[in-house]
Every structure is written in C-alpha cells, then in structure tokens.
C-alpha cells in the first residue's frame, strides 16, 4: 500500500459528493419539500465543492491526467495557498460543509458521501500528502521527423561517445556491422520486407 495517494480517491469521492449534494438540493428546492432551504444551501455547497475539487492535484510519481479544462480552476485554487494545499484544512472543511445538509433527507446522502471523503482526506493528510497544482508545460513539441537529428549508425548496445568516435574512424576502414550481444537461438535471415 506504499504508493497509494489517498488524496486522489478522496478527490473523486468529494467530486461525486458535490454532485450528489447538488442533485439532492435541486430535488428538495424544486419539490418545495419541508425545510427546503437546506436544499438551497446544499446546491450552493455542492457547487463550491465541485469547483474546489475539480482541479486534480499532481501525482507524486509519474504523469497526471488533467481533467478537461481544469487549468482555469487550478489558478483560482492555487490562490488560496496553504488553505488549498493542506489536506487537513480540506478534511475539516468538508466535514463542516456536510453537517447542514444532514438535516434534510434529500441531501443526507450527500452528507454521508462528503463525510467519507473528509475521512479519506484526513488519512491523506496524516500521511503527509499535499495538493500540488499541475502546471501547464510550454507547448513547443518539435515535429516527429525533426527529433531524429543524427540517428546512431550502429545498433545498440553502443559504447560511450568517446569510444564511439574512435570506432567510427576505424569503421570507415572496415565495414563490419556489429552483431550485437543477443544470441539468436536459431539463425534468422534478415529479410527486409
């Protein structure tokens, strides 16, 4: 379990909880249920949570798939500095936001899901995880053809650069191609099709 970043799952759970809160809130408000104003609160809280949780944080190792269009919200969330970086803050925030929605049946599912998300964030925080924004890289990727500037002339494994220079001088004389270290079990004829 060493590499699990709990915050990533907490993020998915919180996003789902936000949507559930919004749905429950809309049902309660549109249906004019008793105490429907909790429903109105729920919609607002749900929207806030969705906006907060939409930008995915950067993984510790490896590349992270961004959510579509998340860079705008990333800028906003980044502004809050330690309040958005720290997962203890998020855990407490989500727990606090979930409480009022618990008074209405239509939104109580949102409360439960958000409380679970808060718990997972707490776990993430105790393991020292942090929210790091995904910075967009500059988009100058050269064309594929252009990356092949000077392909090596002999197949791998190749000796280091200095030895290679010496070898290339010698190779101008002798044209033997190195067969490489792999031992083919049975000779294979090299037909280029």
């Amino acid at each position: 379990m060493g590499q699990i970043e709990w915050a990533m799952w907490a993020n998915e759970q919180a996003l789902a909880s936000g949507l559930i809160l919004i749905t429950g809130g809309i049902v309660a408000t549109a249906g004019q249920f008793t105490q429907w104003y909790f429903g109105a609160y729920s919609i607002a809280a749900g929207v806030f949570i969705c906006l907060l949780e939409y930008p995915r944080g950067k993984r510790k190792k490896g590349s992270t798939m961004e959510r579509c269009g998340q860079k705008y919200m990333t800028k906003v969330v980044k502004l809050f500095g330690p309040f958005s970086r720290n997962y203890y803050v998020r855990a407490i925030l989500h727990l606090g936001l979930s409480v009022p929605a618990g008074f209405l049946l239509a939104t109580i599912l949102g409360t439960a899901c958000l409380a679970i998300s808060s718990g997972i964030y707490l776990l993430a925080a105790t393991r020292g995880e942090q929210w790091t924004p995904i910075e967009s890289k500059p988009k100058e990727r050269p064309q594929v053809g252009a990356t092949i500037k000077q392909p090596p002339s002999n197949p791998p494994p190749r000796p280091p650069a200095e030895a290679r220079k010496k070898l290339s001088e010698e190779e101008e004389v002798a044209t033997g191609v190195s067969s490489g270290p792999q031992e083919n079990p049975i000779p294979v004829t090299d037909e280029v099709v």
């Binding site: 990533m8 899901c113 792999q182």
Partner: protein, 514 residues
Amino acid sequence: MGNWVVNHWLSVLVLATWLGLNVFLFVHAFLLYEKADKYYYTREILGSALAWARASARCLNFNSMLILLPMCRNLLSFLRGTCSFCRCSLKKQLDHNLTFHKLVAYMICLHTAIHIIAHLFNFERYSSSRQATNGSLASVLSSLSQEEEGVSWLNPIKSPNMTVTYVTFTSIPGLTGVIITIALVLMVTSATEFIRRNYFEVFWYTHHVFIIYFIGLGIHGIGGIVRGQTEESIKENHPHRCAESFETWNDHNSHCKPPRFEGHPAESWKWILAPVVLYIFERILRFYRSQQQVVITKVVMHPSKVLELQMNKRGFSMEVGQYIFVNCPSISYLEWHPFTLTSGPEEDFFSIHIRAVGDWTENLLRTFEQQHSPVPRIQVDGPFGTASEDVFHYEVAMLVGAGIGVTPFASILKSIWYKFQHADHSLKTQTAGHAALNFDKATDILTGLKHKTFFGRPMWDNEFCTIATTHPKSVVGVFLCGPQALAKSLRKCCHQYSSLDPRKVQFFFNKENF
C-alpha cells in the same frame, strides 16, 4: 463502414437487446403502477412518483442480476470452450465482458438516481398528507391505521410528528437503501479510470463492498412499504365506485367499506439469487485452481524493470493472446493481477513479462531480485481471453505494440516462428517482417528474434506506404495493443492507405484490449 459492421454486429445486437429489455421492463412496471386499480388509492397520495420508483426498481433488479455475470471469468471460459464450433465473433463477444459490466453499472447508477428521487417525493407526499388537516381523500387514507383485522395501513408515516428522516432510518428499506447507495458510490468513485490505472489496490479492495450491496439489496424489500389494495377490499370498495364518497366510508349504511392494504413481499432476491450463487461458485473455483502448484522454471530480469517468469503448471494449455491472473501470497493474499502470456503455445513452459509500475509489481520485482533460496510461491488462474487467431488469417499482418503492450505480440510472433518450423499449413502468414520496437533502453529482448531498432516514433505514413507498395494486392491486418491516441492515428492511416479498389491492398484495423 462495412468493416465496422462486420466486426461489431454482435455487440450492437447484444446492446440493443439489453437496452430493449430495460425499456420494456421499465415501461411495463410503470404502466402497472400508474394504471392499475390496485394502486389507485396509493396514487392518490403519491402521484406518479410511485410508478417511477417501482419502474426504476425493476430495472435495478434486472441490472443487478446482470452485473455479476460478466465477472464470472471461469464460466465465460467454459462457454467459450464449449462453443468451439461457434463462430469467432461469438467468442470475441465474451471478451467484452468488462465493457458490458461497466455499461450495466452506469445503468444501475442512473436507475438508482431515479429511484431515490422518486422515493424522496414519495416520502414527502406521505409526510404532508399525514399532516394535512383538510379532510381530503389523501388525509383520510393516511389516517387508516391499525384497524381491527390487523395491519391495513397505507401511509408508513404513523404520526404527524414523525419526520421522513426518522422513518427512513428506522425502517429496513430506508436503512438498507442508504447503505447500499453509499456502497455503490464508493464502488464507482474508486473505479474511475484514473484510480484504477494508478492505484489498483484502492479499486480492488473497495470494489468488494459489492458484497454489502447485494446483501442489502436482497433485504431491501422487506417491510412492505409499497402497498396496494387487497383483493377482497377491492370487492367491497372499488376505487372507481367509492373514491368520491370517501367521507362516508365509516358510515354503517355505506356501500363502501374503508379500503384495506397489503404490502409487497421482497422480490429482489428472486432476481439476484442465481447470479450470486454462480459468482460464489466462481470464486471457489478460482481459489481451487489457484491452489494447484505452479513451478517456476526460469526467472529473467530484463532492463527497464521488466521481470520475466517462465512457469509450468499441470494441465495448463494456452493459445496466443490469452492472459492469466497471478497472485503472490508473500506480497498480498488477496490481490490477483492480469498479465498477457508472452510464450507461444508450442513451448513447454508459459511465461509472462511483468513491468514494475505500482506497489504490487515493484514488490514482486524486489522479491525476485533478492534471490531467496526458496523462490516465492506464485498462484496462477487462467488462461482467459479469446485467442488472437485473427492474426494468422491475414497474409500480411502489422502488429503494433507500445511499451509493455508488445507482450501479446511476443506470443504471436513466437507462435508464428514455431509454426514455420513445423511447416504448419494453416498459417497464412508468408513471411515475418521487421518489427520496429521502441523502448527506452533498446536492448530488450522478448523473443530472441534479431531485429532492427529505429529511433523516435515510427512515421506511420512511411510504414503504411512501404507496405502498400510491397504488397499491392494483399489484405493487411493491423493489430494494436497500445494507447488510444495511437489507435486513432493507425485507424486514420488504415482508411487512408486502403485502396478504393477492393482487389488492391486493403488495411483492416483491429484494436485488441489485452
């Protein structure tokens, strides 16, 4: 387009049947609860929300029944084996079990949402009619409580002070409903592609809350909250006759007696019993198969953190392109991970190449690197999957594998090589062409075949052009095991370089999810 239809007609048929059944069940249940006399009085309080809740419940039962079946991989293998006379397309369909499982899951989520929203309205209406003092039919019906002959109430909210939340959490349907919905949400959030690919253990362990889901679903209907008029009561008080005169029901000389109601028995268990039993049997079978001894004959550490394991197991027979599930009890008792077989069926061992990408695989590599004298025990389940026989049916086959995605093709290439050796006449492939393999450290050997390495990404246009000119009259099968972006470019190239004349070169694109 024609190519697509030929390849996918069975999938379309299966999906259309499934959707059609969903629609039929929904509409049938909806009309029953919306029109039947039995529920006239219930509808008086609840309106259409009753029908919406019951219709979505029936679809939930149907889909919960279906969702376990694609996960019984041993059963599917058995079906695939007995269908050896069946066409390849039927067997291929069984390979899409995961896709079907996800579709059914989405449908369950949709119907759960409908069901919950409808019941929220139902409870709210029960609550307001209990509290109503205007003497309407709804309030009269609500005040029907435990009469002389036992329970014949309609409204589950017994007193005006009871809140809907209280009723929810103190009734079996309400409580189980909340619990299984939370289980469903947890399963869905931990099963998103991002979590599954990067933190597989979170997905694998959390997904086991389906046990809670099924137990909860089975007992969800106990309590008989959905109530309809009893048969005898309809004779005494037919809604069409008596509904108008509800104020006089309690009069002695009235023709209409107060209506009596009965609840439904639970019916979910009838839908889910068989699949649950099948699945339990499947898990027992997996356990039994895993207990059979696996002998590791060779361990090779390749560069790029790839481990090759060559193994033997009694009674194991494979075909190209199949995969196995592997468990290493010393790392984790419960985790099973799938790996494509990289050996050919003609070899006297079977092998897998494992790349270290996460917790389990890193641990596995580390355990084998340390070379403790008893080699760690490995359990194997499988093989599963349809054989990639299609490759052998093309005169010219172009196999594209990205990164560790070359593993299925390793198996195929080895098999082709063995078939050459044994002059197997069923092999249409004439020659094995060059393989452009792209690794970060280029000396990786999977097959021991001599190859040329090219740097940078292959320029697909060049590759396709070359093949089209060297095989102007052939049918070329293009097979990919790799990322979606690559699939798009290859598909485009296939369309572009296929000649309009059907006698000339044609490229057929096959994307396999290994």
